[in-house]
Symmetry: C2
């Protein structure tokens, strides 16, 4: 899945940043780079900075306009320092990564980054379905382009592969599927109806708030068994009495 997410760099000025972004992507398992009108590409400097991620550069696609680059994508995310002037949802790097994994895993997704100095243009931002924001120090938020690509790629990797030590060892990644999460949410909702906490006729956003909470857990199989076991034990105790 990581391999299907495209990173778009728009009008990048410094070729070194293109190379460093390629390296950042590859360390996190991303490989699909798109360049919209780069100032200088291909270039020796980009290749040097890419280190052994030069395969990402050689497979990068280059377009003259953002319009051409975006044609194939159904979900477009723009990285923005802070843009509340447009009517587009703003999510953090972690939130958008979880959203992409949960809601858009079968879609074609692009995450775009603007120029080093000015970021994305308003025109580019208006093409996005979401804006993503890296929560940086408000007094010094000057992340360079490759660092921004690094952090977003990292969050995408963790959202896809999970974050437990077990996952890391590469032995048995047992993170539950979206379908299992759905089963859990149905079980949770029914239990909350049984206890009287939740009223399906007056839901008051409860389930969507609970989804936000539990999506952050990204449980593995044995953790899901505990969560489901607790729900079952509550239901059983209610029925017994």
């Amino acid at each position: 899945m990581l391999d299907s997410i495209n990173i778009i760099l728009s009008h990048t000025s410094h070729p070194g940043n293109i190379g460093a972004a390629a390296r950042a992507m590859k360390t996190m398992g991303l490989s699909k780079m798109i360049l919209v009108k780069p100032k200088n590409f291909p270039s020796f400097e980009a290749t040097v900075r890419a280190s052994k991620a030069d395969d990402v550069l050689s497979e990068a696609r280059v377009f003259e306009t953002m319009d051409d680059a975006l044609k194939e994508f159904t979900v477009i995310v723009g990285c923005s320092a802070r843009s509340r002037h447009l009517d587009v949802p703003v999510l953090t790097a972690r939130e958008i990564s979880e959203k992409i994994v949960t809601d858009y895993h079968s879609q074609s997704v692009a995450v775009m980054f603007g120029t080093e100095n000015a970021g994305l243009t308003n025109e580019e931002l208006s093409r996005c379905h979401y804006h993503v924001y890296i929560p940086a120090n408000p007094d010094y938020s000057s992340l360079n382009l490759a660092s921004a690509v690094q952090l977003i790629s990292y969050e995408l990797r963790v959202a896809v592969l999970g974050n437990s030590a077990k996952d890391i060892e590469g032995e048995k990644v047992e993170r539950v599927t979206a379908e299992q999460m759905e089963g859990f949410y149905q079980h949770l909702e029914q239990t909350l109806v049984d206890t009287g906490y939740h009223n399906r006729d007056h839901p008051k956003m409860l389930m969507s708030r609970l989804r936000r909470i539990y999506n952050r857990v990204t449980p593995d199989n044995s953790e899901m068994q505990i969560l489901r076991g607790i729900l079952s034990s509550i239901q059983k105790t209610l029925n017994k009495q």
Copy 2:
């Protein structure tokens, strides 16, 4: 709290990396850098790469040996590519950040990074209470030093300040305190005893597994209200019947 966490760079070869690490730290609100026997410092190249984070460089402390650098610290974390040969717990960047915030917020914490080529030495790793691991692509895990510092600093920032859009706006960070989390765990445990799922005489690690699950949530106040409300409604329904 971020301001009290020290980043130690050991025997760094390239001054540019020291500057880039300073920039990475400052974008995430960290400011305390310690250099152990850097090859070349202070240097013009480091200052240039630090951009406007040169205050981090000018306040950096330089030591001749790691022993001297570590004297003041009670919790020492070493960044390691993969080290299972030593009997030290290995956590991901996210796990260690949550642990520092939850368990060690009042202690003096240092996170150390080794050389660009070889990382930390075994001797340095053996001085650590924890090893931290960035979950990178196993086929290409070549994160550069500043990128590693960037990712760890980012995870520390998110662990301290939370990750919701509300936090980001800097308006009202309402992330719950460690004490409130403790209250929640006690309430959760009592509820699970009431339903019969949990037996305090045969605990089977249940509560520590649940802590691992819910620590990942880092709820804000209103989310905590929902979680506590659910527990209370279960207890009430059990008592009523």
